[in-house]
């Protein structure tokens, strides 16, 4: 598959060749082409503004119309055509400061920002947190995500999986830094909403007050729309509120962030179910111009075993977690079996312990290593003394007098691999046994509950029972109706829902403004290009990702107190210093190449440059070998590496990491700085045999030339032959 080409970078290349090739002979024409090239380089390097595109178009048109020769006219026509055809791309470069196909070096996004489904500018907020500017960091995050505090506690952090620091040791603890900054900003009263745009006098109705719906509400309200959010539940928050237990995400955190959205004028109609309390036609009659369906996936799959529907003590995990979240703290029983091996099963089991159940056992048909739940969730459940029964399949729920008394199970062993590539559990004949329980919680998957959407009869559904949408514009098959979140992709993550809500808000804005929908996913926006935090190479290498302090096991078993206690301020500031600032260093390897292959010094041991082929990294090696020639800095396309003389030292710096610092020498004649001794030694070795070593010690270029000139004056110049 051929890599897409950035029209900005491609045009710069073509125009440079035309100019360098001398094809534009008339001076006026050449000057215009050079001016266009300069403007285009501004666009490509993040220095452009909104006036750049019309200025380029004007110059191109003058080239095309005024010539005076064919080459000038053709060049003008080519540029006019490129600017018209790729107007959106040029504009996107200016608006987002990002080149999505990564041809414009200074506009290449960091892997963490690209990984974030909400597109948050991670390196910028990590740097702000490192500088102690927590409220500014939160304001920056909220340009892309209205729930920094929630995400700082429960995000699945895809950013950390792509964190380049993880190729050296462990990824930067991005999630917890965000959580710390949000809590601090909220506590200091500095967690503020941005300014709203003037009212557009148009209304949008959002069905579902979960992360997708409320994110869309936030961005639409900021754009000036009147937004109403309906939800069947008595509280806003959706699955964040009724699916994630309080010991992971305290209710107050959600409440505070929801209230910030409410402050923007968003109206919440809770306890309002579409199809029951309100009808779609009625909402249309209220004058809503567009609708967003973000109802989540709150229904459960059935176990399909005997006895499932016969006892009130058999519940599904989603309903169970919902009722506990809404305040019903009665324990389901004394001895509880939770069926399933996923994250929701773990949540249900840990919640049951906290409600006072004597014994909670997770029953899973495969082995521990096959459990689909996240490893850390399983470990935390084990720490809290949740029991596990692996290689066990429930076959019947047994009871008497309307009460569950046992779960009949069979033991299994792992047989040949199935379709999923895992060894299939095969029942062992004669291994049936009764497991004494008085409550059963099933957790074998969630699905979208389509009740209430029947009136949207033209809305297409997928075979997974989710709403069919265009994944770029979030449009459904009904004009003016959009969908986002779990209702579209099935049970997914909070940050994905936030990203989907944000895309839907953009698409609804375009729909109501009569602007065509995009053909490609929206590009994240580079919000800043902050100064680096200076860190010595040894510190950069030795700083360790901190361990999260946890509530003690005993208290975890009996209360819903938050289990993760949060980092200390010192740990947060130190952790932020581990960031490699991949928004600036694009890992092109030009520095390593010139140092190793051209200079023959090989002082840059940056093994993290390649995603697929990683080698050891040690920033400390540079100080041992580097001669401070500056070739790396001179060839860095993004100024990630810089070399500067500070006082009596020359310092080499990579995105704030001080790689090398050496004392400079001064010219023995005029006192000018001439570089470190190690550099002189290198030059002397390279010049050995070509020119004799100066007997006058260290001289700057000017003084050396003067000395040579005096000597040359005494000699007759050689005869030139023509």
């Amino acid at each position: 598959m051929t890599k897409p080409v950035c029209p900005v970078a491609d045009t710069i290349e073509r125009l440079s060749q035309i100019i360098a090739g001398g094809r534009l002979e008339p001076a006026r024409c050449r000057q215009r082409a050079e001016e266009i090239l300069k403007l285009m380089e501004d666009v490509s390097s993040g220095r452009g503004g909104p006036e750049h595109i019309p200025a380029m178009a004007l110059l191109a048109s003058a080239l095309e119309e005024e010539g005076p020769d064919d080459a000038c006219r053709k060049t003008g026509a080519m540029l006019t055509s490129v600017l018209a055809e790729h107007h959106e791309v040029f504009k996107s470069h200016l608006d987002t400061q990002i080149c999505p196909v990564t041809d414009c070096a200074r506009l290449i996004p960091s892997p963490c920002q690209m990984a974030c489904p909400a597109g948050i500018d991670v390196p910028s907020y990590v740097t702000l947190i490192g500088q102690g500017r927590d409220a500014e960091a939160i304001a920056l995050i909220r340009k892309d995500n209205p729930f920094p505090w929630v995400c700082g506690l429960i995000c699945t952090n895809p950013c950390e999986f792509m964190c380049v620091r993880g190729r050296i040791d462990k990824p930067v603890s991005i999630k917890y830094l965000k959580g710390f900054a949000a809590e601090r900003a909220m506590s200091d009263g500095l967690y503020k909403n941005p300014e709203k745009a003037p009212s557009k006098n148009q209304k949008v109705c959002i069905i579902g007050a979960g992360p997708a719906g409320m994110s869309a509400a936030f961005f639409l309200a900021l754009k000036g729309y009147g937004v109403t959010v309906l939800d069947a539940l008595p509280v806003a928050g959706g699955m964040m509120m009724v699916g994630i237990p309080r010991y992971r995400l305290p209710r107050e955190v959600i409440d505070r962030e929801v209230s910030m959205i409410e402050e923007l004028g968003v109206e919440f109609r809770l306890n309002t179910r579409l199809g029951k309390d309100v009808q779609f036609e009625g909402l249309q009659a209220e004058g809503f111009g567009a609708f967003l369906i973000a109802i989540g996936a709150h229904d459960s799959h059935k176990l399909g075993i005997k006895g499932e529907g016969e006892y009130p003590q058999v519940v599904d995990a989603v309903s169970y977690l919902r009722r506990v979240s809404l305040g019903d703290r009665r324990k389901p029983g004394q001895r509880v079996a939770v069926l399933g091996g996923g994250n929701v099963a773990i949540d249900a089991a840990r919640t049951s312990l906290r409600l006072g159940c004597q014994e909670v056992t997770i029953i899973y048909r495969r082995s521990r290593s096959d459990m689909p739940a996240n490893e850390e969730e399983v470990e935390q459940a084990e720490e809290e003394r949740v029991c596990f029964s692996f290689l066990t399949v429930p076959v019947e729920i047994v009871g008497e007098n309307g009460k569950v008394t046992a779960l009949r199970c069979v033991r299994t062993e792992l047989g040949p691999e199935d379709q999923s590539g895992r060894r299939r559990p095969v029942p062992i004949e004669g291994s049936d046994f009764e497991f004494r329980v008085d409550a059963v919680i099933s957790s074998i998957g969630q699905r979208v509950d389509p009740k209430g959407l029947e009136s949207l009869e033209h809305m297409a559904w997928t075979r997974r029972n989710t709403i069919k949408t265009n994944s770029i514009s979030m449009e459904t098959t009904v004009p003016g109706v959009f969908a986002a979140g779990d209702a579209v992709v099935g049970p997914a993550t909070v940050v994905e829902a936030i990203g989907g809500g944000k895309r839907a808000a953009d698409a609804i804005d375009r729909y109501l403004s009569g602007i065509p929908q995009p053909k490609m996913r929206t590009v994240p926006v580079r919000r800043n290009r902050l100064d680096f935090i200076e860190v010595p190479a040894s510190t950069k290498m030795t700083l360790q990702r901190p361990q999260m302090p946890m509530l003690n096991d005993e208290r975890r078993r009996v209360t819903f107190q938050q289990v993760e206690l949060g980092f200390t301020e010192n740990a947060v500031r130190e952790e932020a210093r581990r960031c490699l600032r991949c928004d600036v260093c694009i890992r092109c390897g030009a520095c390593v190449d010139i140092c190793r292959n051209k200079m023959g010094v090989d002082a840059l041991q940056f093994g993290y440059l390649n995603f697929d082929h990683r080698e050891p990294t040690d920033f400390r090696v540079t100080a041992e070998r580097c001669i401070l020639c500056g070739a790396c800095a001179a060839n860095c396309p993004t100024e990630a590496i810089s070399m500067a003389d500070v006082g009596e030292e020359r310092i080499l710096n990579l995105c704030g990491t001080v790689l090398n610092r050496l004392k400079v020498e001064r010219c023995q004649v005029c006192g000018k700085v001439v570089g470190p001794e190690r550099y002189h030694d290198y030059i002397t070795r390279r010049m050995k045999g070509i020119t004799p070593k100066s007997q006058k010690g260290v001289l700057c270029l000017d003084c050396a030339r003067e000395t040579s000139a005096r000597r040359h004056a005494e000699m007759a110049p050689p005869k030139l032959t023509v």
């Binding site: 990984a115 489904p117 895809p158 999923s420 590539g421 957790s443 998957g445 997974r464 770029i472």
Partner: protein, 71 residues
């Protein structure tokens, strides 16, 4: 093939699944990391979240992914 969180994968072909849309064609050949697999029952039919190197985070049907464990 069952995918786990943190597995390195390649989008090695277009999927025939209805979830695959035309703009996703450009992802073929890219490498990434599984960031949110099916955490309920490892259903091979489930859409799983993959973060692609330089190309964002997306949900993919599993038939277009292959593991890079052995590479």
């Amino acid at each position: 093939m069952s995918f786990r969180r943190g597995d390195r994968v390649e989008v090695y072909r277009k999927s025939q699944d209805e979830h695959w849309q035309a703009h996703m064609d450009r992802f073929v050949g890219l490498h990434g990391i599984v960031t949110d697999p099916d955490t309920v029952k490892n259903d091979p039919e489930a859409l799983i979240e993959v973060t692609l190197d330089g190309a964002g985070t997306h949900r993919f049907p599993q038939d277009c992914l292959r593991s890079l464990k052995d590479s």
